[in-house]
């Protein structure tokens, strides 16, 4: 288990119990209340799946896609490759920067080495990736509204 106390002083730490436990309990209660409200508001989802009105919101893009792509094999191939891309995302978008860093060699003399440093940046600091993600999300939303 990671020890958080190693690289920061007591002013930047807080106890897990009761502080964090309390927060967890509060948000869990919030979730239960949310589900109870949803149960009392929405009618029973209890109909035939293969009709668009009863497809839930997050399966709707997939359903529409399955109707657009007539070939079943092609549809499954598309789904599988999307899943593969999604799963391997961190390996596809590594942002490594080449930096020249002085590193002491065995004799103690400074020598310049190229070090690959992976630097963490927010997605919006990387315009192309950001555009790819936004385009993907918006095309999924658009798929939902396509009339077949």
């Amino acid at each position: 288990m990671k020890d958080y106390t190693k690289d920061r002083g007591p002013e930047r730490l807080e106890p897990f119990f009761p502080n964090e436990m309390f927060r967890h309990t509060i948000v869990s209660c919030f979730l239960v209340v949310l589900e109870l409200i949803a149960v009392s508001i929405f009618p029973l989802p209890f109909k035939v799946v293969n009709k668009p009105d009863n497809i839930s919101w997050f399966l709707l893009p997939l359903y529409k896609l399955s109707k657009l792509v007539h070939n079943e094999l092609l549809f499954i191939l598309i789904l599988a490759s999307c899943a593969l891309l999604f799963i391997s995302w961190p390996f596809l978008v590594r942002d490594k920067k080449n930096k020249m860093l002085p590193i002491k060699n065995a004799k103690g003399a400074d020598s310049c080495h190229i070090l690959q440093i992976s630097e963490r940046r927010n997605l919006w600091q990387r315009p192309i990736l950001f555009a790819v993600v936004i385009l993907t999300i918006s095309s999924m939303i658009q798929l939902c509204f396509i009339k077949l």
Binding site: M1, F16, F58
Partner: protein, 194 residues
């Protein structure tokens, strides 16, 4: 003498057990220190877990009443909702909860995507998490097929198979992936950048 001796050993064992438990609790709960000011958005992963646990517990209840074949499925659901005390509540919770769970999992994923938390050393967190998202969608899909009478006409698969996948296959794999997911988060520690 001998008895006393064994008694002592037992006592020692007891003490050892107690202290092991105590150190476990102290290390993990009561004396554990965590970084200050974690984002409230960081709760989404935990909430996905809570939503999953609600599904498991309501699902186990429903298993006692559900008849997993084409002819009995719809009637058994009607039976749960109308004849079993609080059956309506648990059935609806189990049917509506997944929508909320998927919402939680997707917002957890989006937070990690937009903040770039999936990068080294957390690539495998993402991989296990992404598998969990796909499994969540699959379990939703198989579950929604169970409340459809003539599922065979739609998919050509027996309801019994779908039921087995829904109640045993996918949950077991999800449990496995969750175990890996949590183990990895514990090892690298929570990401508190930005």
């Amino acid at each position: 003498m001998n008895n006393k001796h064994t008694g002592l050993i037992n006592n020692e064992n007891e003490n050892e057990n107690k202290s092991f438990l105590r150190t476990l609790i102290e290390n993990n709960v009561t004396r554990r220190l965590i970084p200050k000011g974690l984002s409230w958005f960081g709760c989404m992963g935990g909430l996905s877990l809570v939503a999953f646990l609600i599904q498991v517990s309501t699902g186990i209840f429903l298993m006692f009443h559900f008849v997993p074949n084409e002819r009995g499925a719809l009637d058994s659901i009607h039976n749960v909702t109308h004849n079993v005390p609080y059956g309506w509540l648990l059935q609806r919770l189990h049917a509506i909860g997944p929508n909320i769970m998927v919402g939680m999992v997707i917002s957890h994923m989006l937070r990690i995507l937009f903040k770039g938390i999936y990068k080294h050393p957390r690539e495998l967190h993402w991989v296990s998490g992404a598998c969990l998202l796909i499994l969540t969608l699959l379990i939703y899909y198989t579950g929604s097929m169970l409340s459809v009478g003539n599922v065979k006409a739609h998919s050509g698969i027996h309801l019994t198979y779908i039921y087995a996948i829904h109640v045993a296959g996918i949950p077991l794999i999800m449990g496995l992936f969750m175990g890996m997911h949590f183990f990895m988060v514990r090892t690298t520690g929570i990401c508190e950048q930005l």
